[in-house]
């Protein structure tokens, strides 16, 4: 027994000494809470942490990374317990709410004076303007949120004798009718007549046009419920007509995104609004894998239509309890897009673990086997999923808001169709707005959204007219709920 007690005492002493050593170290510790968008421990996160600390020796980085699907549960529990991390990543919903609740550090001034903003490489001023809440910035986005563009099958256009991509709504509808008549099927399908998260309308932009079913701030600063506006009524009429004419798949109501994609690959329809960038390549390769023609034409927004919606990206925030926010901003946030080694780390991971320039063969013995010469950049095999290669770390190179410094060995290699779609989107998009959260919105919006979505679905399927839908909206108290929320938002002004 005495031996056991002695052993416990020795172990406790050792533990104490370790603690003392760590606290005596003059490194600034940064506790970072992050979801699965950073490569996790099973995928070489320790190598990323080690490389980051090598690049920034004055800091001691500690990741707290719950399971991706449980991130917001765990994050909220941690915030509610008062044990806040120094840095955390937040989606737009939580960003607005936490900023309003005083959980986040105001980084407006730090950002204005930052190296990134003043680097000459930064291209995301409009994104950051959209992230401001009451003129203040509480989060840093290293990438765009990305959004959807409309792809049309070139082979279908050719078969219908359409030589020019439509630029007006009338020409667009004529094209859909030509597809329907030629192939005997609907021309457009999506996953839902309305999206489940902002920007809600991004899967059917040609039909929604300037309509928006959620709360929007007008130019004079006042808030309105976009669902109650005439533009929304007109959009619902367009959707109803298109479904009735057999131009939109009525199963859009129950389609999941995978259903819509599979129907597209099976040539069930010819016009698909989906994510820009890498997805252009994915759509092409999947069509070709199904024995179809993979050439797609990405449409610009139709004349008179607003630009495509760019999602509000997830943002890195510093909490209000962080003891050294400016130092954390300088060391952690402001180096993410430094145009050099740290950006390389965030985009591609750690050299030797996730990528390399050494000569070698990857995915040996498989159909995807590739051999590289010395000095040739290539990604390495996934540590968790044998037979696949890593594609990126946290930052998607195609969406990054700043490129590398001139002369830096940029490994970026993008398929031409992905680059074309990404450029078309970047040049023709606007950031979805952030709606501040009020108690009234939080209380009523769950039920209000359910009613709105039901009315949209019923109008789209022709179960009721637009007028009947809006009458139902008023009769069932939804209009009152909407007005209450609008009032609470305007009270913030």
């Amino acid at each position: 027994m005495k031996k056991l007690i002695s052993l416990i005492l020795v172990l406790a002493l050792c533990a104490g000494l370790v603690t003392v050593t760590a606290s005596a170290d003059d490194k600034l510790k940064i506790v970072v809470m992050v979801d699965g968008t950073v490569l996790d421990q099973n995928n070489g996160r320790d190598a990323i942490e080690a490389r980051w600390e090598e690049l920034h020796p004055e800091y001691d980085l500690e990741f707290v990374q719950p399971d991706h699907s449980a991130y917001y549960d765990v994050m909220q529990q941690r915030i509610s317990s008062g044990d806040w991390p120094d840095v955390l990543i937040l989606s737009s919903t939580y960003y607005a709410e936490y900023a309003a609740a005083g959980v986040l550090w105001d980084m407006t001034e730090a950002w204005e004076n930052s190296k990134t903003k003043n680097s000459g490489r930064f291209t995301g001023d409009n994104v950051f303007e959209g992230l401001k809440i009451d003129g203040k910035l509480y989060g840093f986005a290293p990438t765009r949120g990305n959004g959807c563009v409309t792809y049309v099958k070139k082979a279908w256009m050719d078969a219908c004798g359409i030589t020019e991509a439509p630029t007006t709504y009338e020409a667009y509808i004529d094209m859909l009718k030509a597809f329907r008549d030629k192939y005997g099927t609907y021309a457009v399908a999506a996953a839902g007549f309305v999206g489940t998260e902002a920007p809600y309308v991004n899967y059917l932009p040609e039909f929604y046009q300037d309509a928006y079913p959620f709360f929007v701030q007008q130019e004079d600063g006042t808030w309105v419920d976009g669902f109650t506006q005439d533009s929304m009524k007109a959009a619902l009429q367009r959707i109803q007509d298109a479904v009735a004419d057999g131009l939109i798949d009525k199963e859009t109501l129950t389609n999941k995104t995978s259903d819509a994609r599979n129907k597209f690959y099976d040539d069930k329809f010819g016009v698909f609004t989906y994510w820009a960038g890498t997805w252009a390549t994915n759509l092409k390769t999947n069509l070709e894998a199904n024995g179809k023609d993979g050439e797609l034409v990405a449409l610009k927004p139709l004349e008179g239509n607003p630009l495509y919606y760019d999602r509000v990206p997830p943002v890195w925030c510093i909490t209000a309890k962080c003891a050294h926010p400016q130092e954390v901003f300088d060391g952690f946030i402001d180096t993410m897009l430094d145009g050099g080694d740290t950006q390389m780390l965030w985009e591609y991971g750690a050299e030797g673990t996730h990528w390399t320039r050494e000569a070698g063969t990857v995915l040996a013995g498989t159909e995807k086997e590739a051999t590289y010469e010395a000095g040739q950049f290539h990604m390495l095999e996934n540590l968790e999923k044998a037979g696949t290669l890593y594609t990126k770390n946290h930052i998607d190179p195609m969406l990054a808001l700043a490129g590398f410094e001139e002369g830096y060995d940029d490994p970026r290699s993008v398929e031409p169709e992905a680059l074309a779609a990404a450029e078309l989107f970047n040049n023709n998009s606007r950031l979805a707005s952030i709606v501040p959260v009020t108690d009234v919105l939080s209380e009523l919006n769950g039920e209000l959204t359910t009613i709105k979505n039901e009315i949209i679905a019923d109008i789209a399927l022709g179960n009721m007219s637009v007028e009947e839908g809006y009458q139902k909206f008023a009769d069932e108290g939804a209009l009152d709920m909407s007005n209450e929320i609008v009032e609470s938002l305007n009270a913030l002004n």
Binding site: V437, G446, A457
Partner: protein, 316 residues
């Protein structure tokens, strides 16, 4: 230690608890993990019930609101609809599944070919092992209004309908198909308990019935069916106590068009939590959960009472 009382009965004197624990320390040691598990995962979370009396959106301290969450709950028309849907869906599902399970069990019991009986049993058990997500995908395809929808195509070819019906988007049709899908998925599994009862019936009774001149139908009606009676009541009572636990089967089949008409309490809580565009009021959603638990508790007590009356023992 035993002693004899004045009326001649032997009374065993129990040893003190500590001595007994010392004697059976191995059993108590083995019980510790179970005790810890139950305490941590079943009892400790019950402290969360207190949030039903607070308004709490995770950030900041909970604010005491007394019974306000419960008042709000009864004002919400969606809550009332969800509550009744929970009861109706569960009870109808229970009666249909049990009824079908009895019928199928009786039919299986009448099968002469053992191989065919086993094959039939395996086929009807299989759907139970499919996840609800897969089940929903399969039926979405079968019920599709397009040319891919098997049900619609069959009905069109039989001349019963002119064009495909969008069953899952129609509020009334949705309910019908919800019950059909549940019967398809769960009936086979429920037949196990009835088949076990049928196997236990004394063959002598059938022989006696045959001697008395009973035919096949008469034996089924006068011997087999009464033998199942007690099991049917037991199954109904045991399942009645669980009827408030309805989520996945409804959730995976819902869509925007039917959601409000088909919400049950647990899907209602889900949409209140994740559809608000902001952090939900966890106080309110806890109140809904607590109400559901109280109704479940009341049902369990009623079932326990009914079980004692019918079977002579409670359900636990």
């Amino acid at each position: 230690m035993a002693s004899t009382t004045s009326n001649g009965t032997i009374q065993v004197k129990k040893k003190p608890l500590l001595q007994r624990m010392q004697k059976y320390w191995g059993f108590y040691l083995m019980f510790i993990p179970v005790l810890v598990f139950v305490a941590v995962f079943h009892y400790a979370p019950m402290f969360g019930i207190r949030y039903a009396f607070y308004s709490w959106k995770i950030i900041g301290d909970p604010v005491w609101v007394g019974l306000a969450n419960f008042e709000k709950l009864f004002r919400q028309s969606q809550f009332t609809t969800s509550f009744w849907n929970t009861i109706v869906f569960s009870v109808v599902k229970l009666l249909l599944n049990t009824g079908m399970a009895v019928i199928i069990s009786l039919l299986l019991n009448e099968m002469i070919s053992l191989k065919f009986k086993k094959l039939s049993q395996t086929i009807i058990y299989l759907p139970h092992f499919m996840s609800w997500v897969v089940t929903a995908s399969v039926f979405s395809l079968l019920l599709s209004p397009s040319e891919n929808g098997l049900v619609n195509q069959l009905l069109i070819r039989m001349g019963l309908i002119d064009k495909g019906i969008y069953y899952l988007a129609d509020k009334q049709q949705w309910r019908v198909w919800y019950y059909i899908i549940n019967v398809w998925r769960e009936t086979g599994w429920q037949t196990i308990i009835f088949m076990a009862t049928l196997t236990g019936i004394d063959p002598g009774i059938y022989e006696a019935a045959s001697i008395d001149g009973a035919g096949r139908w008469q034996k089924m009606w006068y011997v087999t069916f009464p033998a199942l009676g007690n099991t049917i009541i037991t199954v109904l009572i045991l399942n009645l106590a669980k009827i408030m636990n309805l989520f996945e089967s409804v959730f995976v089949l819902q869509n925007d068009s039917v959601r409000r008409a088909t919400n049950v309490l647990q899907t209602y809580v889900y949409y209140q939590t994740f559809n608000s565009g902001a952090s939900a009021d966890y106080g309110y959603t806890t109140a809904v959960g607590l109400f559901r638990s109280l109704v479940g508790l009341a049902l369990m007590l009623i079932c326990n009472y009914a079980s004692k009356k019918v079977r002579g023992r409670g359900i636990v």
